[in-house]
């Protein structure tokens, strides 16, 4: 059974600071996804990482994937209040195609002025 673990689960940080969210998973996969969810809203796709060593950046967010370590990171640079949300990583089990994602429990991020 594929397990996806995120840490931390809760994070309160100040604007302007940097921080990293970690996502570990238990089985071989080279497809990892990051989503953002605002309260009462659906999931917004942030990044799709498709190979070992993949790195993608959008604004103050940067995601990377190390398939050998079964680890992905989401790095936040100079955080701003608008980034407050819950962030989920999700893994697509090996087998090809859109098999369905296994999600972590999410990291609830609060960025304070």
């Amino acid at each position: 059974e594929l397990k996806v673990e995120q840490n931390p689960l809760f994070l309160s940080m100040q604007e302007g600071k940097n921080y990293t969210i970690y996502c570990n998973y238990s089985t071989t996969s080279d497809r990892l996804y990051w989503y953002r969810q605002d309260p009462g809203k659906s999931l917004e796709s942030l990044f799709v990482l498709l190979s070992n060593g993949a790195v993608k950046q959008e604004g103050r967010l940067m995601a990377s994937l190390d398939t050998k370590a079964r680890l992905s990171t989401l790095h936040i640079t100079a955080a701003v209040h608008d980034l407050s949300a819950t962030y989920f990583c999700a893994v697509d089990a090996e087998g090809g195609g859109a098999d369905g994602l296994t999600f972590g429990k999410g990291t609830h991020l609060i960025i304070q002025p």
């Binding site: 996806v4 497809r31 996804y33 989503y35 809203k41 659906s42 999931l43 796709s45 799709v48 498709l50 989920f88 999700a90 090809g96 195609g97 859109a98 098999d99 369905g100 994602l101 296994t102 999600f103 972590g104 429990k105 999410g106």
Partner: protein
Amino acid sequence: EAGVVQSPRYKIIEKKQPVAFWCNPISGHNTLYWYRQNLGQGPELLIRYENEEAVDDSQLPKDRFSAERLKGVDSTLKIQPAELGDSAVYLCASSLRSSSGNTIYFGEGSWLTVV
């Protein structure tokens, strides 16, 4: 381009009553998913369709849950009878199957409260 459309957005029912959710995926997306998200948790896959075929329903509680995707486009998810523990957000998602990886797009969800 319209995203994944779900209805109803909110539903409150008494336990033992039936409820149904409807989903219209993004045009051209042949893969459709139903997920359930409990409060404070990540979504969990219930069923996945490739066109009109249910290719993974291993997590669907078949004693009370059923789903269909007639004609390989819209889909409905039904619960009968509902139990208190079924209170959750039911998310529909769709994707275009691709060997180069694919983004799975989620709808706004149907929020179910069973009282």
